[in-house]
Symmetry: D2
Subunit: 355 residues, 4 copies
């Protein structure tokens, strides 16, 4: 794991440490050069909750020929040149940032506002959403792990997009605070975040073209409005997608469409009623509930994930498994999707607020 001190990197390190089919050979960080430098420390000394008894090293100290694969958890922009170096050394690479999520270098440079450092690798890179790219991911050399919002949004909308049912769509996304990273000045402070909520990052949040790109490859090229909001909780993400349908679809057909789409998936779960983020925290599962307005003029699809797991670290491990041709779910999460057991609405679904 390169960059093991970030929120995603440290969780990848923990998952791989416990992974029965992978040996976590090295974790790296930047040497700050002073007395607080993490180099030489065990990861558990810095994050006791991860309890990984492996020492942090600098990347430069490693002999890359000894490694088979790497998960890169660098900030967007910094990962591309490292990925080139690792690929040249023959390693399989899963990149968790935004550097390998676009087939098209122009989209990247337009939305990220910086040149791409390794554009020649874009052709090789596979977008790491296993539910739609599984075959291409098997044995892949370079994988761009999806953003958290695109993961939930694309899983929520894909069945409708493939059917050509979307006339236009609004995605109102709500995320816990851990998306902002674990360290450094950028982390949202407690005061001003607790007991508060807000939209942020619009217009032009970087996940918007990523969602548009994936929906486009599934058949929808129309109007897409994406607005994320910051919610005062640690981890968990809810996307509420509002679709104006091209044609009417009945409630039963709508549910059948989703059941068919995800019947074979271990990490996508249809909910019997409105989902909550608590349902999926600390799992690799995306939980989805499609709903039709009584008048049939709007389809709402709600999806919840854990932004650090399925929206980050555990999906990276899922992709690594595919790339290394290991069992896809191994070491990813100890929870798998449950079937919808009945057609009645769950007791959890009764509205807790009636005002």
């Amino acid at each position: 794991v390169a960059g093991a001190l970030g929120a995603v990197g440290s969780l990848v390190a923990e998952l791989l440490w416990k992974h029965p089919g992978v040996e976590l050979a090295a974790i790296t960080a930047r040497d700050t050069g002073d007395g607080d430098s993490p180099i030489g420390k065990f990861l558990y000394e810095i994050y006791p909750e991860h309890r990984v008894p492996v020492r942090l090293q600098t990347l430069e100290a490693l002999d890359l020929s000894e490694f088979k694969a790497a998960v890169v958890a660098y900030p967007t922009g910094a990962a591309a040149s490292l990925a080139r170096k690792l690929r040249h050394a023959g390693l399989t690479v899963v990149d968790s940032c935004g550097d390998f999520r676009f087939a098209d270098v122009e989209t990247y440079e337009d939305w990220y506002g910086q040149p791409h450092e390794a554009p020649e690798l874009l052709e090789e890179a596979v977008y790491g959403l296993p539910e739609f790219n599984r075959d291409a991911l098997k044995g892949a050399g370079l994988i761009g792990n999806p953003g958290c919002y695109p993961t939930a949004s694309v899983l929520a909308l894909a069945p409708l997009a493939r059917e050509g049912l979307i006339a236009d769509v609004v995605i109102d996304a709500k995320s816990g605070v851990s998306g902002a990273g674990k360290r450094g000045g950028a982390a949202p402070p407690f005061i001003g975040t607790d007991e508060n909520m807000r939209p942020y990052g619009v217009p032009r949040h970087r996940h918007e073209p990523e969602i548009a790109d994936q929906l486009s490859s599934l058949g929808y090229q129309g109007l897409l409005s994406f607005v994320p909001h910051l919610i005062p909780l640690d981890q968990g993400e809810l996307v509420s997608c509002y679709v104006r349908p091209v044609r009417e679809i009945g409630e039963a057909d709508l549910h059948a469409l989703y059941e068919e789409a995800y019947a074979e998936e271990s990490f996508v779960e249809l909910a019997p009623g409105l989902p909550t983020v608590r349902d999926v925290q600390r799992t690799n599962i995306c939980r989805i509930y499609p709903m039709r307005d009584p008048a049939g003029t709007r389809i709402s699809v709600f999806a919840t994930i854990d932004n650090l797991w399925k929206g980050g670290a555990s999906q990276a491990v899922q992709n690594l498994n595919l790339a290394l041709r290991l069992p896809e779910g191994e070491g990813v999460s100890d929870s798998v999707a449950m079937p919808v057991s009945s057609d009645r609405i769950s007791p959890l679904d009764r509205p807790p607020v009636s005002a």
Copy 2:
């Protein structure tokens, strides 16, 4: 104040206790008949944070001829017959629940699923949104205080509705937990609400026809999708409104439209950037930010209020002032709307989460 133990009722009692132009002559509650009965206790003994040194009585113990006005904070359905009694005794009535928010008894009975107990009063009742009904509210005998979501939603969308700019609209609403009331089995528990979020109450939340009704009177009768969400904070509400516009409107024109609409209002504030609920907690202010997508194909309007204040108690006091022809803002809140000081985006607006 009739029903002073609820979240809204107890706050109305506190506001009226401090109101320089009103004497809080009595507060009532139900006698539980056992050792825990609140009757005879000071309100501050039950809610120390309100510190109102007035004793709770039963409504039956009161001589109504001694009172000039009442704020009724009963559950929806229970208020109508009390309102009749109070009107017959000659009192001015502000009702905080849903019983007097619809001109039309059929809409009420359809959405609330119960017969209306005092339909003859509906004609007299005035909908208590001062920004649009000020003249009718002055001297009114019976006022239906708006729901929290309709307050924020209608203030957010009215300028567009009046211009005939809305082709269709999605309202994704997010509320703190206090909407569910302060007492009794219905209050959401800490476990399962904290570190969680969820959509709720759909399809057919009772605030939807109320919003539709008001937008209709402002000129918009089209498709409206309303979905509320429960967010883990005490009080505060954010509505994110997504409008597909009938025709294009420029950024400057959009802002001018809102500035003109609310220039004279003391309790509506245009934000220089994306608003947060912290901006308005414990005030009677609604803070609004309209925004146009770069492509001009979507207008997003964000509005924040405190659901217990502008969405409940302080707006009830504002309406009571109008009905009694007192200064409108007296005793309502010690904060009033600030002007937008410049066209630059505030530092608070920088996105705190970049993932």
Copy 3:
């Protein structure tokens, strides 16, 4: 698992479902007899986050002769007569409530204010703190699983108690909200718990005699003041123990005393600095930091656990393993205690608040 709908019972069910050496043969609940009855449902239908695909049954529907062991997660008072029935049927029983934590029936009846339903079982019952009772727990037929506060408090104070170092002790305990259970009217509401904190349950909290009992068996019979506080977080517990020492002890000797006491323990961890509850959430680990005032006149010992895990469900599984002579840590938690790696203070220990 008898009583699988409570906070501890449902977590025990999840842990046993994943336990490699145990077959989770049945989980029970009370039949409410109406449409909301949980009987016949999968546990995951009620608590999606547990994802246990086992159906709830009534206890009466079970043929007890088919079972080898049971974890009883009933409310205190209700467990004793069930335990008798299960013991008569030959099952090994781990009881998670307060019914089998006292050797002495008088202490129980005095502090719990009710007669004990199965006093003849008290002699057989073993107190389930493996760090001190391991030998007696191996093969035991009936185990009283400790309370959450006693678990942390006794682990924190035992090394001092055994050395005869305690002149008197104050235990200021702070717990997340999950201690109050997952269901029913007793669960603390969000409003009034969030953004709040309070002492509660004093004087005479039921965990006080349990702590006194255990410390007494370790050699300390003096003055003990125990005050719990309710803190606005889901799960996690911190006990801050303030000891007036009988004689002075140096900093190095103090640490050596604790290192020696717990060197061989898999689930007790010495912290390099002040611990936090985040360090141990969702683990079976107790993390301890002893500290001496500069003047040597006070020893403070801080200990953190997860009240639902080491303070409840995972310790119950640890005890079940011992009773069934399975490997002690199997299925208990995927984290084990890390060694203190160095004598320097961790970066996490820098005070975040300086006011």
Copy 4:
């Protein structure tokens, strides 16, 4: 207000803006010299929730001869030399940091680890706890506003200290996060603070000698152990004080002692049962509950304040009023202490957690 961007400074500015007897003539901040500099902006542009329509200036831009008084809200160490300058210009000064809380320069330099910049002012400075220093504060030229923990701790313990009842005392203090300030790198991040708690700042927290100093002047010079903890809420502070009494005192005498001590105080309130921080949030009130263990061997005193109000800004305004010989409670808070109305325990006092 000098230093109006901090948590205390901005709240002092808001309180003085609304103060009927004071004109808020200027608020200052540091010029960062770049595009984000606050200089020239209204305070409400930076903190919308304060809504103070006064522009920030640099201190250097002010003509000090135009001012009568100043509240200094600088970091400890930086305030002393400014105070000298202001005193030389003839202003009355209330200093909110630690620079003028000690009569003794050695204690300051020992605990704060830096030389005092204006030691000649220490003799003039009055410690700003009005309940015990009211006479000296009237007309004072320089006031050291107390720390938040000392405010609550001294109010909690003074009645016992004056009676000579304390043999030794442990103060376990718990604070919301706002103590750490509103801006800058030192503010605790959301992740790692939410869903967590921890002791911090020990041994040798700077508030310890301040508490010892004040208790000493009230008659107690013995052993004092002070340990603060960081709790995940915005604002509010609870001190739990555990006293080993010199001699036994009955429950009724204990309560009488406290009632007598604070009967005339507007901002100290005896609680009918265990207090919570919610009882006092956004007020200048300290709420206290003394309690005797059944055996009489320990007295526990619980006190709650709002760390930003009575523990900071509103107490500074109270002190300013005294210094300027204005009515003491004017502009301080719109809540005053309520009497204990009866001897029965309030319903709020029932333990919400029974585990």
